[in-house]
């Protein structure tokens, strides 16, 4: 069996596994739903996820331990992850193959030749690590922007599967929405289409993970190389070279992704996977020291430069409401990969990839948008923290979220606080009964209570002409039937009130209450309003009220992050 065949089977296997993990990342216990599928496994295998969080937090988060295995195998064998496992790599390889079909051999050899600018990816890696390296300046983990595993996870979870689902509704009941999904798609599509320019463009020029694996393959025991110097220099070995590592000449070990195509394509059996350096010579990471230093320093400075916006300090944007269990903002930004797992698993679709609300560094991090999705954050759900691969959203239990059991004294986790916009609220400013928010508040006792008031309707002051039984005839025309909804009352001059059961243009009928014996003079037609108020001690910021508010454009009750549990500086109450 040819090793290249085994490799392709392996790639197909891991790609399928990856897609499967994406599909099953929905809450439910059918076999195609999350149950205990290790949906984060490929993210956990990603050594750059481990490295990035180690650099930013100075800690190695336990569930990422699988990455150690990948690192060890890379040290022994070289960049096998890129050529054998990486699902993004598999996509590039396949698209590159499609793009190269029908091209002349010489052209293929030209496309796959080693280019000096492939070293850019090392600079990207170093730049990102620089951004994360100094928490005292403003450590922020941005590897996830270009790390292929978070990138491809995000692209599948937030763009490709939702697009696919639009027509089929196979993996979700309702259409999913992801604000800024278009930008995620644009990055993904660009990366894929670049394969038509140069195969595996992303892997060769951009991929910071590939760069990291290239660096640690420096001491690999087995490497691709030539066994004899006698070679006619036909360059057939570079015809299908995936890494662009120049096996025909001085091979660039750090670029080799162990595709073994060179070994297959050499008609003279000159290339092997061996324990000695290539007889044609080999080069380790080919990057200038000056470039590395410059990139690192740029990264170190870029992080505080982004923080100048004050978005992580007093200028925080009110809409940055994070999922339950999210760490305080500076810690959160040290861990979030922007992988999109939480956004996809969220049963209500309320978790969204942020734009620039949380600052440049908060791009694609999870925030709650209560106008999107089927409801706000559900009282009995902690799925987002359970799938977060780096514990940027801690894996909390339901007891912790709701403040039950051992968390009674800590109280429930608050995501923020709902504020009533009295200028937009129907009962507050339009004299229309509503209280949908109060009805839907899931907190017990309800965090929304009402202040009951009677207020006189517009043009509601009329004079009594005659009282017959329970009907009052009035002197002036009023809109027929308008006041028969059960919310309207008649206020008599003596201060007593009766409920209106019906009305014509010139009369009102009374159901509840007694018409005063000597009812004369003017009456006021009043509406009984229940005006919602938020009890800030009870409100957990779940956003169900905001979602349900019928003022659908800009909601009349909105959750903002004041009072969130995760930070003390946004505290609202004592």
């Amino acid at each position: 069996m040819k090793i290249t065949t085994v490799r392709r089977i392996n790639q197909l296997f891991f790609f399928t596994l990856f897609v499967w993990f994406c599909i099953v990342a929905t809450v439910g216990e059918k076999f195609w739903q999350i149950r205990n599928w290790p949906v984060n496994w490929i993210l956990q295998l990603d050594p750059l996820v481990a490295l990035g969080t180690i650099v930013s937090t100075r800690k190695f988060y336990g569930p990422l331990h699988c990455a150690i295995g990948v690192v060890i195998l890379t040290i022994i064998f070289g960049r096998f992850f890129c050529g054998w496992i990486c699902p993004f790599g598999a996509i590039h390889q396949f698209v590159g193959y499609l793009g190269n079909r029908g091209k002349k051999v010489a052209e293929k050899i030209y496309l796959n030749k080693y280019r000096k600018v492939q070293s850019i990816k090392y600079l990207i890696l170093v730049f990102f690590l620089g951004m994360a390296a100094f928490p005292s300046l403003a450590g922020t983990l941005q590897t996830g922007l270009l790390d292929p595993i978070p990138l491809v996870t995000r692209s599948f979870q937030l763009v490709l599967l939702p697009i696919f689902d639009r027509g089929t509704y196979l993996t979700s009941v309702n259409a999913r929405y992801y604000e800024f999904g278009w930008l995620i798609f644009a990055v993904f599509a660009t990366a894929v289409l670049l394969n038509l320019v140069i195969p595996r463009f992303y892997c060769r020029f951009i991929c910071p993970l590939g760069a990291f694996l290239g660096i640690i393959s420096r001491f690999s025991i087995w490497r691709i190389g030539k066994t004899r110097s006698a070679c006619i220099n036909c360059k057939m070995c570079e015809k299908a070279c995936e890494g662009g590592c120049e096996p025909s000449g001085n091979i660039k070990i750090a670029e080799c992704v162990l595709c073994f195509n060179c070994r297959d394509d050499c008609k003279h059996d000159l290339i092997t996977y061996q324990t000695v350096p290539s007889l044609a010579g080999e080069t380790q990471v080919d990057v200038s020291r000056r470039g590395v230093v410059l990139s690192f320093v740029s990264g170190v400075l870029a992080a505080p430069a982004i923080r100048l916006s004050g978005k992580v300090a007093s200028n925080w944007y009110t809409g940055v409401v994070r999922p339950p269990g999210a760490l305080a903002e500076p810690e959160f930004l040290k861990r979030c990969l922007k992988c999109g797992q939480c956004m996809r698993v969220c049963p209500t679709n309320v978790i969204q990839p942020a734009g620039l609300e949380g600052g440049l560094e908060g791009l694609w991090t999870p925030i709650l948008n209560n106008r999107i999705g089927s409801s706000g954050c559900q009282l009995n759900c902690v799925a987002c923290g359970q799938v977060c691969p780096t514990s940027a959203i801690r894996p909390i239990t339901l007891d912790e979220k709701r403040g039950l059991g051992e968390f009674v004294s800590a109280g429930p986790i608050k995501l923020g606080t709902a504020f009533v916009d009295q200028g937009r609220c129907l009962p507050w400013s339009m004299d229309k009964p509503c209280i949908v928010c109060q009805e839907n508040c899931p907190v017990s006792p309800k965090a929304i209570f009402t202040k009951d008031v009677f207020t006189t309707a517009r043009d509601g002051v009329v004079s009594i002409k005659q009282v017959t039984g329970s009907t009052i005839e009035i002197d002036r025309g009023i809109p027929a039937d308008k006041f028969s909804t059960g919310d309207y009352y008649v206020l008599f001059e003596d201060g007593s009130r009766c409920k209106i059961s019906s009305n014509t243009a010139t009369s009102v009928g009374i159901s509840e209450g007694k018409i005063p014996a000597a009812a004369v003079g003017k009456i006021e037609i009043q509406v009984r309003l229940q005006r919602p108020c938020v009890d800030i001690e009870k409100c957990i910021g779940c956003g169900v009220c905001e979602h349900e508010c019928p003022v659908s454009g800009k909601k009349a009750i909105r959750v903002t992050a004041e009072g969130e549990t995760r930070s003390t500086d946004r505290r609202l109450l004592l």
Binding site: N10, F31, R35, N36, P38, N380, C381, V408
Partner: protein, 336 residues
């Protein structure tokens, strides 16, 4: 030397097969992992939980002091006054017939006395005591073993006092099949909430050994018989000849306090319209017992050692006095 020799090809094939085997093992491993799941991890409890012949319906709910009234409305204060901590409820339906089911209420009452108090005070008149819970059948064994697990069946309901938990299972219908199923679950629960040594209520054994009606014990934590000075009052029915009277006692910290409580209770009765009448029994006279006529029924109160004791709402004075004599004797025994 030709490296792509037959040997090289064999190695290539072996390595290839090994890699594919690892791959298959990975797939199998992942599948096995995926099978062992607990949806509670995501905050969503498994949709169905099996309990014998029943499966759970809907979500389990928990209530605390703030929202207990939402579940049981006006009954909430009774539990809260008796030390209520939390209530867990869950509905179950029979596997054979989904129409048939019950709802279980598990009240965490903080300690066994609180649990027994709400249990005994709500005990239905038509109750049949449940055996097999480890509840002692006779007062004798109560003194040595103490009581800690109690239960009864009444119509469609089973109620249990298990350590600090008071449990109610309310069936949807009065059916033997259902009650039998619920009994099975009651047994499971008594094993699950196995009472500990400190859950034992030894006082239940202080009633007269003979003629106390087993299972008629009641505990009123406070405000017993409407008098707020009488706390931790145990009462039970006693067969006095062919009559049954209710006898009670309360253990105080010392003899002086017992005397004061007895006196205060007597004054309380008089203030509320009771008329003092003479005591016939010499034993009771010497014990300083008082008898009053309270609108046609007889109340008796005395103190002996650290105990306040008496008879409550007796219809027959003779029977009441006889019961009181026996109770005094028994309490004296305990005092010693």
């Amino acid at each position: 030397m030709h490296l792509y020799s037959g040997r090289a090809r064999t190695i290539e094939s072996v390595v290839g097969v090994l890699i594919l085997l690892i791959m298959i093992a990975t797939a199998v491993g992942i599948y096995i992992i995926s099978q062992d799941y607990n949806m509670a991890r995501f905050g969503i409890a498994s949709q169905e939980e099996s309990q014998g012949d029943f499966t759970s319906v809907g979500k389990a709910e928990t209530y605390n002091n703030d929202n207990l009234y939402e579940k049981i409305d006006g009954k909430a204060p009774m539990y809260q006054e008796a030390g209520f901590i939390k209530l867990d409820t869950q509905r179950f339906a029979a596997k054979s017939n989904s129409e048939l089911g019950f709802e279980i209420y598990i009240y965490d009452m903080n300690n066994a006395k609180n649990a027994f108090s709400v249990y005994s005070r709500q005990k239905r008149a038509d109750a049949t005591d449940l055996g097999g819970l480890g509840a002692p059948a006779s007062p004798d064994s109560l003194v040595s073993r103490g009581g800690s697990a109690f239960g009864y069946v009444a119509g469609n309901a089973i109620c249990l006092s298990l350590g600090k938990n008071y449990v109610e299972m309310i069936g949807s219908a009065e059916s033997n099949e259902l009650v039998d199923g619920m009994k099975g679950i009651a047994k499971d629960l008594s094993a699950k909430f196995k009472p500990t040594e400190k859950d034992k209520i030894a006082e239940l054994g202080y009633f007269p050994v003979v003629d106390t009606v087993a299972g008629s014990w009641k505990l009123q934590i406070d405000n017993a018989f409407g008098f707020d000075g009488l706390t931790d009052a145990y009462s039970a029915l006693y067969k006095s000849g062919d009559k049954t009277v209710s006898i009670f006692f309360s253990k105080r910290r010392n003899a002086d306090e017992a005397k004061t409580v007895a006196k205060n209770y007597y004054d309380f009765l008089i203030t509320n319209g009771a008329k003092a009448i003479s005591v016939d029994s010499e034993i009771l006279k010497s014990a300083g017992a008082s008898v009053v006529d309270f609108y046609g029924s007889f109340e008796m109160v005395f103190s002996t050692g650290i105990f306040v004791g008496g008879v409550h709402e007796a219809n027959d004075k003779q029977a009441a006095e006889k019961a009181a004599e026996v109770l005094i004797g028994r309490l004296k025994e305990i005092n010693d």
